[in-house]
Amino acid sequence: MAEFLLGAALFVLGTVALGLVRILRGPDDADRMLAAQLLGTGGVASLLLLGVANGINAVGDLALLLALLAAFASVAFVTGAERPEPTVPIQETDPHEQGEQEAT
């Protein structure tokens, strides 16, 4: 059973590493972020398989942390990504100074 779980962990890790090719040739930054997200989830699955195969319970905590950090990475990407220039009225309503003055 342990050998099967180890093999499954290596298989999942291999497929996810194959998905990293998308980071190399993704035309858009969102595509690269998708590959990173898949790496996060596949890493979680692989860690869970490894932890059960070796009987180490602490690896579950590591998987939990990795899931949390993968989610944070994608949220940080979306909030930090610059918006493409929209054609319509956001230009007048959006700048920082006006927003801050209206907020105070």
């Binding site: 099967f4 998308r22 596949g42 979680v44 989610a71």
Partner: protein, 109 residues
């Protein structure tokens, strides 16, 4: 009984690994960001869910199993949130009239 549980683990983990493979192939071969997002969320939810389901008989019942389920639930929540956010960030901006205005910038009626 043990054989049945082992068989259940083998089947579910194999199905989960197949879903991860399918998600990776979709991520590599689909033509569009939104379709790639579609493939990715399938790998996220079903692949990890099947792996967790397969691992459940192999861990100690109350705490280990609940931790595995908690990991999967966190991944589900994160996957849903990130899917919405990335889909909004990757949506086609200029050409399509219905989607070109951001959701927060709609003028109040």
């Amino acid at each position: 009984m043990t054989l049945a549980l082992t068989l259940f683990t083998v089947i579910c983990v194999s199905l989960g690994a197949i879903f991860f493979l399918a998600g990776t192939l979709g991520l590599l071969r689909f033509p569009d960001t939104l379709t790639r997002l579609h493939a990715l969320t399938k790998a996220d939810n079903l692949g990890l869910g099947l792996v967790v389901l397969g691992l459940l008989p192999q861990v100690a019942w109350p705490l280990g199993a609940l931790k595995l389920i908690a990991v999967w639930l966190l991944a589900l929540l994160a996957g849903a949130t990130v899917g919405q956010l990335l889909g909004a960030a990757a949506r086609p901006q200029p050409g399509t009239p219905n989607l070109s205005t951001a959701a927060g910038e709609e003028p109040a009626p």
